[in-house]
Amino acid sequence: MTDSKPLTGGGLLFKVLEQHGVNHVFGYPGGAIMPIYDALVDSNVQHFLCRHEQGASFSAVGYARASGKVGVCMATSGPGATNLITGLADALADSIPVVAITGQVPTAAMGSDAFQEIDIFGLSLACTKHSFQVNHVDELEKVLHQAFEIALEGRQGPVLVDIPKDVQMASVSPTFKATSHLKNKVKLPLADISKALDLLTHAKQPILYVGGGVGMANAIDEVRAFAKETGMPSVSTLKGLGALDTNDKNYLGMLGMHGTKAANLAVHDCDLLIAVGARFDDRVTGKLDQFAPDAKVIHFDIDTAEINKRRVADAPILGDLKENLPLLTMPLNIENWQAKIQQMNNDFAWRYDHPGEGIYAPAVLKEISDLMPNNTCVTTDVGQHQMWAAQHMNFDEPNNFLTSGSMGTMGFGLPAAIGAQISRPHDTIITVSGDGSIMMNVQELATIKRYQIPVKIVLIDNAKLGMVRQWQDLFFDGRLSETDLADNPDFCMLAKSFDIATKQITKKCEVTAAINDMLDHDGPYLLHVKIDAKDNVWPLVPPNSANNEMMESA
């Protein structure tokens, strides 16, 4: 670009977004961001008006996770900015590259408790990877480039740029030079693999433990090659689902609190655990000192701070997974261990022969998984339906399963699906939600209507906050507290009011036809699936228990 005519700060923002390949942003206008929304009119960036700033931030997260690009969201000062925070916290916890732009009151009014003034810069410290406040328009171009660079560099994450209104209006002559500005990048040492090689060659019962870092490192091919070449049994975290080949007979599925019995028993018995882009999260480990108690650990990660944070690594390997994992890829002689793994996989396979005429949610999700087109992207909310989706649906890539893993944010699924659909207009996007979760960002049905976004919504409805109800039944003596949602709205009428096609099913015999109707429908669709309020997610590792002490029934 050679155009160096003066721009406003708002105009410069969109020029820089275009430089970074941003075609779509999600946001909501307001007083302190009006100059930016004025400049939007003349830009080539397409804006999607969400109906709550939290929806905008989750759509940016979904956009980023489905596409691998940076998601961008915008909001005004004060409540607009604070409404972004949950989405930013979610992006930080799950390491998602997002750039959030907030309007701020004019610099002269800052610190005076002005109308819609909040110190979003201060609030951002705990929920972003980094943040900026631009106090002069001359800083704006450099800051915006830095924001994109920081969001994508190393362990990815959200960056907030707070821009006062007078800075948005001021005139500036842009340079259009996108040079690297990060002076203090962490230098990682060259990987020392000798210890890891020694552990690997002596292991008799190794397990490959795959996390969300694999997808973010674009190392899916390397991980699958490692699993295939070594023949090593493998397990996945919630965020790692899709990284491994689900047809591999040595793949055991998800581990942890709601992991498969085979995965948890195998990890408990292993003598070597190779953690790849995973961080020994508490929902994975259960009681930490009894997690893989006899195993040595090889830990691959890009983030120095994850090494030895919760489990000491006997052989830490920092750096780029794509470069480092092939260094350990070799055939292993572990036939006895493989035979035991395959036997467990067979013995503890999921069963779908649920008694009665009522609908069994795991069977519905399994059938959707079997029927959905290739490269379908599934998002979820948080709760029982989320765990059933993780257990019973198969994904061929991590960016085809978007779920709020670390933060566990109800309200994530619908706006994330909107973002995913905008980034991948030709793929089927399904959001699996619950009757509690969907109400958390239900206003985004209006966004679906406005842009005719063909998201398919599978609403698993037990008229309860099901996961909390399950825990109250199991661990609080059945004392149910504020988990009954019997007064839910009529979800089909709600969908119709947003011109969304819909159907309710209550019996097993209706499931297959309803799924096909939904998948065949051209536009947005809500499939309302009524299930038994007492269905639980099994297995379940109780709190403060080892993973081999899982419960399989009440």
């Binding site: 900026f132 203090n184 120095t304 030895n308």
Partner: protein
């Protein structure tokens, strides 16, 4: 009353003199489970580099805090001043 083994550490942190860098360090220190016992900070206006001496205590390994502070964008270096740090000093607390 629990008795935790609290260790005292002195960190020497070199930073680019950027907006809220001190707040960022204090936030990370608190969140990661370290008590702040004292702090000195001075900016070299010639090169816009600030040197921060941070006196902290915790029952957690200091490497956890060093790794987290190192991740902050404006940090140039973090070191433990071994001479000033006191390990294994028992302290009662009411956690």
């Amino acid at each position: 009353m629990n008795t935790l083994t609290m260790n005292n550490y002195t960190l020497i942190i070199m930073v680019d003199d950027k907006q809220v860098v001190l707040e960022r360090i204090l936030q990370v220190t608190r969140y990661r489970g370290f008590l702040i016992n004292g702090i000195t900070a001075k900016v070299n206006t010639g090169n816009n580099v600030a040197t921060i001496e941070l006196f902290v205590s915790s029952d957690r390994p200091i490497s956890l805090l060093i790794d987290q502070i190192n991740k902050l964008v404006d940090i140039k270096s973090v070191k433990v001043d071994n001479k000033a740090s006191q390990l294994s000093k028992a302290k009662e607390c009411s956690a």
